[in-house]
C-alpha cells in the first residue's frame, strides 16, 4: 500500500465533565489513512468516532498525541499553512440541510468556497459546472436555495462543494444516515465513483455496518474511545476476531427474513463514559469475558495477521511473540501503561 496521508499517533481527547471527572472520548488512538483508500470508522454512538473526525480536521484541540497530515503535525501549523491544509482536507456532514446557508443560493454557497481558495470567477464557474455533471444535477440548481431541494440533492451538492478545492482527503461523517434508502444508494454510488475515477482518499464515519462493508477498503471498529479491531474489509467481515465486532455484525438487521438468525447477542448497555470499566473496556458486555484477566488489565491492540489488529486476549493466541506490533515505523504502544502513570 502507498504511504499514509494521515497518521494519528496516540491521540487522546478528554472532555472535562466537572466534579474532577472527565470523559475519555478518545483514549490513545493510533491509525493511518493511506492515499487512495476509503477508511471506515464504525461503532455505537458515544464511541468517539465523530470526535476522532473532528480532531483530524482540527475542529477541536486534542489533549495529547499527534496528528500528522501530509507529513506535518496539524496542531503546529501556522494560520497560512492551516489554510492550505484545509484546502487539502474537506468535510461532508451528516445533515445536508444544516450544512448550507439557507439564505444563500446554492451557486453562491459553491462559488464562495472557490473564491476563498483563490479561484477567479471564470475558473469557479467552469469547475462548478464540471462538478454538477459529476453529481448529475442540472445547472438550474445554482439559482435555488437549500429549502427548495431534497436531502439527496443537497447531500450531493455538499460532496461537490467539498470537491471544489480539489482535496486530497475527504472526511464524511455519517453522510447517509439522515437520508432515505433510495437516496442513500445515490450517495454511496457517487462516493464509489469518486474512488474509482479519482482514487479519492476518504474517511467514512458511520454506524451502519452494511454501508461501511459496501464501500470501504479498511475498517476501524471503535468502542468507548478506543480501537477494538482494525483491518481490511475481508479481515473484519470474514475473519472477525474481536467479540465486539462479532456482536456488532450479529446485531445488524437481517436483509431478508429467510436469513438465519445469528447466535451472538450483546447484552446490556454502553457503560457510562465517565466511569470507564477497569481492564478491557468491553468486558462488562462481553460473552467471553475471563474473570480476573479481562477485568484487570486491558489487552493491547496487536497484529493478529498482516494488517489486521485486534485488542482482545482471546483472539491473540495464535500470535506467540510478545513484541508489540510495528507498522510503518511506529509502535502501537501499551495503552494501560500510559494510563497508570496518569
Amino acid at each position: 500500500m502507498s504511504e499514509p496521508f494521515i497518521r494519528v499517533e496516540h491521540v487522546k481527547k478528554y472532555f472535562d465533565a466537572g466534579n474532577k471527572k472527565c470523559v475519555k472520548a478518545l483514549d490513545d488512538v493510533s491509525l493511518e489513512v493511506y492515499r487512495g483508500e476509503i477508511l471506515g470508522i464504525v461503532g455505537e454512538s458515544g464511541c468517539g468516532k465523530s470526535t476522532l473526525g473532528r480532531c483530524i480536521m482540527r475542529l477541536t484541540e486534542i489533549t495529547d498525541g499527534k496528528i500528522i497530515m501530509d507529513g506535518k503535525d496539524i496542531f503546529s501549523l501556522s494560520k497560512k499553512e492551516m489554510k492550505e491544509m484545509r484546502r487539502k482536507s474537506q468535510m461532508v456532514f451528516q445533515n445536508p440541510y444544516s450544512s448550507f446557508n439557507p439564505k444563500h443560493t446554492i451557486g453562491r454557497s459553491l462559488t464562495d468556497v472557490a473564491k476563498l481558495f483563490g479561484m477567479t470567477n471564470a475558473e469557479a464557474k467552469e469547475d462548478i459546472s464540471n462538478l454538477l455533471g459529476l453529481i448529475s444535477l442540472d445547472e438550474s440548481v445554482l439559482s435555488r436555495r437549500p429549502g427548495e431541494l431534497s436531502g439527496g440533492q443537497l447531500q450531493r451538492l455538499a460532496i461537490a462543494r467539498a470537491l471544489i478545492t480539489k482535496p486530497v482527503f475527504i472526511l464524511a461523517d455519517e453522510p447517509v444516515s439522515a437520508l432515505d434508502v433510495s437516496v442513500q444508494a445515490q450517495i454511496l454510488n457517487l462516493i464509489f465513483d469518486l474512488k474509482q475515477q479519482f482514487d479519492q482518499t476518504m474517511m467514512f464515519i458511520s454506524h451502519d455496518l452494511p454501508v461501511v462493508e459496501h464501500i470501504c477498503d479498511r475498517i476501524v471498529v471503535m468502542y468507548l474511545g478506543a480501537i477494538m479491531e482494525m483491518g481490511s474489509v475481508d479481515d473484519i467481515f470474514s475473519d472477525t476476531r474481536h467479540p465486539y465486532t462479532k456482536a456488532l455484525i450479529a446485531s445488524k438487521p437481517r436483509s431478508s427474513p429467510d436469513e438465519p438468525v445469528p447466535e451472538v447477542e450483546l447484552k446490556g448497555d454502553l457503560p457510562n463514559a465517565m466511569e470507564m470499566p477497569e481492564g478491557c473496556r468491553f468486558h462488562t458486555r462481553c460473552p467471553h469475558c475471563i474473570p480476573g484477566k479481562c477485568d484487570a488489565a486491558a489487552p493491547l491492540l496487536k497484529e493478529v495477521s498482516p494488517g489486521h489488529f485486534c485488542a482482545c486476549y482471546l483472539r491473540q493466541k495464535e500470535k506467540t511473540s510478545e513484541s508489540l506490533p510495528v507498522q510503518n515505523g511506529f509502535e502501537v504502544k501499551d495503552i494501560r501503561k500510559k494510563e497508570t502513570t496518569l
Binding site: 444508494a185 454510488n189 452494511p210 445488524k252 438487521p253 437481517r254 436483509s255 427474513p257 447477542e265
Partner: protein, 331 residues
Amino acid sequence: MSELVQINHLKVDLMSISGLIHAVRDINLTISSDEIHGIVGESGCGKSMTAKSILRLHDESKVEYSGEILYDGGRDILKMNKKDLLKIRGNDISMIFQDPMTTFNPLLRIGDQISEALLIHQKISKAEAKERSVEMLEKVGILPGAARYSMYPFEMSGGQLQRASIAMSLICSPRLLIADEPTTALDVTMQAQILKLMKQLQREMHSAVLIITHNFGVIAEICDKVSVMYAGQIIESGDVRKIFSAPCHPYTKDLIDSIPRSGERATKLTSIPGAPPKLNHTINGCAYAPRCKYAAEKCCCEAPEFRTLDGGHRYLCHLAHDSLTKGGATE
C-alpha cells in the same frame, strides 16, 4: 385470527401554509390479532400519519379524516366521541414513539408514569398498580424493577428508556400496540435487543403489533405481514417472506435492491432517480410512474388498480406479477 382493526378508504388531509396536503390517499389495511404488521416507506410517504390516525392523535383543527377505521368489528374510531376514545387510548390500543427521551415527562418518576395508565383504566389501588408496574419493568429487562421504579428519565440511557416505554405501553395489556420507528433513535446492538424483546412480548401477550419503519431490516427481523407505502398509498402488501423473495411492485423491488447487503462489496447499488411526488395536488396515473423504469404510457395517465395474488398478497400496478422477474414490461 380475527380482524382487530380494519381501515377502509382512509384519507387524511393536512392543512398547511402551502395549502392542503393529501398525506394519506385512500388506504385499506387490516390488522389481525396475533400478528406483527409492518408499514415501511420513505419519509413523507404517510406511514406515521396512518399510524397516528388509528388513535386520532393529530391536531384535529388542522387535519381532516375521511373513510373509516373499524375497531374490533364494529366501532368506527373516526366517529367516536372523546370519552370513548380516551377509553381506547392506552388501554386497548397503545403506542411507542421514536424518541424515548421525549416519551416521558422529565419531571416525574418513570414508575409513576407507568402506573398512571393502570390507575386511569383499571380500578386498582396505588399499591397494586406499583406492584404490577415493577413486574412489568422486570419483564422488559429493567432490573431490579423496584429500584428503577423511582428513577427519573434522565437517569436512564436511551435503550433503557425505550424498554420502559414498552413497559408503559403494555401495562394495560392492549390488544394493539403501535410502534412508530421504535428503534430509529437507537444503536444497532440496542435495536437488536429491543426488536427481540418486542417479538417475545408479542408472543407472550398475544397482542397485535403495528410497526412503522423506514428500515427493511427491521421488517425482515420481526414482521409477519408488511405493507409498503409510497406517496400516501399502500402500493404492495402481503406476507413478509413473499414480499422479500418476490416483490411485485417495481418500487418495492427498487427499494429492496437499494439496500447494501453483506457480502456484496464495491458494486454499484440500485438507486431510484428523482424524488417522491409532492402531495399537495392530485396525482394522475401511478404515483411512482415518473421514477419507474418499467413505466409505460398507460402508467402516467391511468391510475392502477390492486391486483391480488395468493395468500392475501396484493399490489397496485399495471404490470403483471411475474413481469419483474422476467425483467420486462408486459401488458
